[in-house]
């Protein structure tokens, strides 16, 4: 990537880059989250979106309740087996490329609920990119997870078409 200035164009600069790194740069700075909040962790996720922690500083404030318009799924809360098929369905409805954050001990490994109804970690049925431990994790931890996703997009990217 290089910045150029050209007097023929009136001195305005232009940037040369690869299409893929340009697309990934745009993707990482405009993540649209799909909040899948099912329990107490969702409150903390709302905290992260609200003004004190303000996830919009990282370009991720456009919370989409339609999976068709989202590319980052934040699963926050206890996932039971009855809910798991819904969770999977919503993930399947999101367009590629997409990323998943497992927020809280429940989504990472069942949390305190070693019981007949609770999934022991959503990676049983979803490909998780970032795990956030804590019961519940602080909003800073979620922000850190979003930044990790951003780094991952920058590093690995995703196919353009």
């Amino acid at each position: 990537m290089g910045v150029n200035t050209n007097p023929v164009l009136g001195g305005d600069g232009f940037v040369t880059t690869k299409l893929s790194s340009f697309a990934n740069w745009a993707r990482k700075n405009s993540l649209w989250p799909m909040p899948f909040g099912t329990a107490c962790c969702a409150i903390e996720m709302m905290g992260a979106f609200a003004s004190r922690f303000d996830l919009s500083r990282f370009g991720a404030e456009v919370v989409r309740f339609s999976p068709r318009q989202a590319d980052l799924m934040i699963v926050s809360g206890t996932i039971t087996y009855k809910m798991a098929s819904v969770c999977r369905k919503i993930y399947d409805q999101m367009p590629e490329p997409k990323w998943v954050i497992a927020m809280g001990s429940c989504t990472c490994g069942g949390g305190p609920f070693d019981s007949y109804a609770v999934v022991q970690g959503i990676d049983e049925f979803l490909p998780v990119d970032v795990y956030v431990g804590g019961c519940p994790p602080r909003p800073e931890a979620l922000i850190d997870a979003v930044m990790k996703i951003q780094k991952k997009i920058e590093r690995e990217g995703a196919p353009i078409v």
């Binding site: 009855k82 399947d92 019981s115 007949y116």
Partner: protein
């Protein structure tokens, strides 16, 4: 003026002489153990004559290996008095043996009992005869166990997993 609960109990005793098996009072809470067959008459009488208009909760207890009959179904009835001191709560219990887990439904008197009975049916497998819509309410419909029974292993996730996999398949073929 406070509500005279003793008068209620006396009236119940004289009207249902063989129905009440036991009366316990502990910390101002009154518990009546009554015969299973009589639950409908008993509830109707309490509701119509003493204004117990509200069913607070229905639940059950599994006394596996500690007591026979194995189950007890517990009803909490509430009466709203005009004065705060006239608010009264009463607890009814019926014993349900393992061989015959059927109990008459109280949905004709309190429609609020509908979901409460469905919950007890779902988690304990007690059937409420006369219930208008006795389906599972918390667990998936094709779930094949009653998880709050004491002989159910609480970590047994196999039945849940099976339902989940079935739901996934149905989701893929677009039928749900």
């Amino acid at each position: 003026m406070s509500f005279d609960l003793q008068a209620v109990i006396d009236s119940l005793k004289s009207n249902f002489p063989d129905t009440i098996l036991d009366i316990k009072t502990f910390r101002n809470e009154t518990t009546l153990l009554i015969k299973k067959e009589k639950i409908q008459e008993f509830c109707m009488y309490l509701k119509n004559n003493f204004d117990f208009k509200f069913i607070v909760d229905i639940t059950a207890v599994d006394y596996l290996e500690r007591k026979t009959p194995r189950y007890e179904v517990v009803y909490y009835l509430h009466r709203f008095g005009p004065e705060y001191s006239e608010n009264v709560r009463i607890r009814l219990k019926v014993e349900v043996p393992e061989e015959d887990t059927r109990v008459l439904s109280v949905t004709p008197f309190w429609s609020g009992a509908n979901w409460l009975e469905r919950e007890v049916y779902d988690l304990f497998g007690i059937e409420f005869v006369g219930h208008p819509d006795l389906r599972r309410i918390l667990m998936p419909e094709e779930y094949n166990a009653h998880p709050l029974r004491k002989d159910f292993d609480v970590r047994n996730r196999e039945p849940s997993k099976r339902c989940f996999e079935k739901a996934l398949k149905e989701g893929e073929s677009g039928t749900s």
